[in-house]
């Protein structure tokens, strides 16, 4: 376990160096959050609010959680790994005396959590404290309705990180097939953005689409923890959420390991 923890630690510290970039990112997320909240508010004022599956205050919290935890969504590949595959430097990765899947999973853990440390807290402060101070309390990130909802969210969030890392590692492994990777990554990004609730909060999609998306792995990263937070899903649903998250995590880890083993059997390192 120690080498993997060391890798997470080293990557984590490296990613924490980009503080100004993170601050710029916070500003952009604040901006997008404001646009989305204003758009949804306008939609809610255009129809009977009581007919909606989720109250506007809950939706505003959903939007801000999404902005705060944006970096956790495994929609993109690890650009350093992509460069390694392209230049042939991936050969060094193969020489390391650790399990390659474990190594890449550890990289993914750092990639998905380091930005959270720098981005999530400032965004939460903006959405929960500064917005009400500006007289926009209707748009704010509200606290979970109960202690149970907060605890359920915390538990689901931890599993969401594990699931996101399993997804991240899987898509990074696909990069080994350099030629087909571009297309797969595009489809992946689309599926993740739509299925997680990043493009549009899942409760606002047509009911038929929701019924399907709820069972796919993508919802476990974003949508399900957010619903627990806002109380749109009762805290009692936690067991079902965790079962889905952990079930998908195990399945994706096994799939990732298989793909990696196959990829390594046929890999030809580029460059000389």
């Amino acid at each position: 376990m120690t080498p993997y923890l060391a890798i997470i630690g080293a990557r984590f510290r490296m990613l924490l160096q980009y503080r100004v970039a993170a601050l710029a990112g916070v500003w952009t997320q604040v901006f997008f959050g404001l646009v989305l909240v204003m758009v949804y508010e306008a939609f809610y004022r255009s129809a009977r609010a009581s007919a909606q599956p989720i109250a506007f205050a809950q939706l505003a919290s959903y939007v801000w959680l999404g902005q705060a935890l944006f970096a956790m969504v495994p929609w993109n590949v690890d650009s350093e790994l992509r460069a390694m595959v392209k230049t042939g430097a991936v050969a060094y990765e193969l020489c390391r005396p650790v399990d390659l899947y474990g190594l890449w999973f550890a990289r993914a853990v750092a990639q998905r959590t380091a930005p959270l440390v720098m981005r999530a807290l400032p965004l939460a402060v903006f959405a929960a404290v500064i917005l009400p101070a500006l007289g926009l309390s209707g748009w704010r990130l509200t606290a979970p309705p109960s202690l149970a909802a907060g605890a359920a969210f915390a538990a689901a969030l931890v599993c969401a990180v594990a699931l996101a890392c399993a997804m991240s590692t899987l898509i990074n492994i696909v990069l080994l097939w350099t030629i087909a990777a571009d297309g797969v990554v595009i489809l992946w990004t689309t599926a993740v953005s739509l299925g997680s609730g990043l493009t549009i909060p899942l409760p606002l999609l047509p009911d038929g689409a929701q019924a399907v998306l709820r069972w796919l792995p993508f919802a476990g990263v974003f949508d399900l923890p957010f619903r627990l937070y806002t109380g749109a899903l009762p805290a009692g649903a936690l067991a079902s959420v965790l079962a889905r998250q952990l079930g998908w995590t195990v399945a994706l880890v096994l799939l990732g390991r298989r793909l990696l083993a196959r990829g390594l059997r046929r890999i030809v390192v580029q460059g000389g």
């Binding site: 571009d182 990004t189 549009i200």
Partner: protein, 265 residues
Amino acid sequence: MIDALRLYAHYVRASVRGQLQYRASFVMSAIGTFVITMTESVAVWALFERFGQLRGWTLPEVALCYGMVSISWALCDALSRGFDHFAELVGSGDFDRLLLRPRPIAFQLLAQELTLRRIGRLVQGVLLLGYAAGAIDWTVPRALLLVAAIASSACAFLGILVLQATSAFWTINALEVWNAFTYGGVTMSQYPLAIYRSWFRALFTFAIPIGCTIYFPAVAILGRADPLGTPAITGWLAPLAGPAYLALCLQIWTLGVRRYRSTGS
């Protein structure tokens, strides 16, 4: 001027040839951009499916705004790679080479690449306009206004990217700040400006005129009264804002170039 155009055409030919060397990669990323942008428009459709209308605006009317902004951003994005990646030139010191060439620097940056894969978003925008077209009572002046508004918005977007490049003379760390205005401008202009709060409308009318160059012409093309109460002539004058903004941004750019000191590496 003719000479500059001929040189630009030369650069574009070289850039296009270069990109077509990796044909599979080009086709894949063009299709990818199309798929991703179409998913975003499906999300807007889903919102209308649930809520019916948006403060009195129908889906075809919103599709007009959305199509206009998609096309103008795709055009700007295809032309502006030199400005978008300018920080890398400053960081590496390669900018010095541009300073030595006997052509305006803004011209050289514009001529760096014509990014073909942006065609994915262009196609999405055209499809949206096609969907919106049924709701419009077309006249020749309105069709011309549509073209002018798209060109004008592309100029306004280019202006933002010129400012982004200018800021790289001061810092190359915080460029993501500008995404709020480019990608944020695209997102917010998908919907009519009238649905936003007044401070937000003011920001996107005067400071960053993307809202101005999309929304007011769209109101005129649709032939409806502006809920914001502006006179009918506004939409016909709004396209002037884009080129004027670009000219202003290029002035600021010149100031930035003057204070440039090479990294020396």
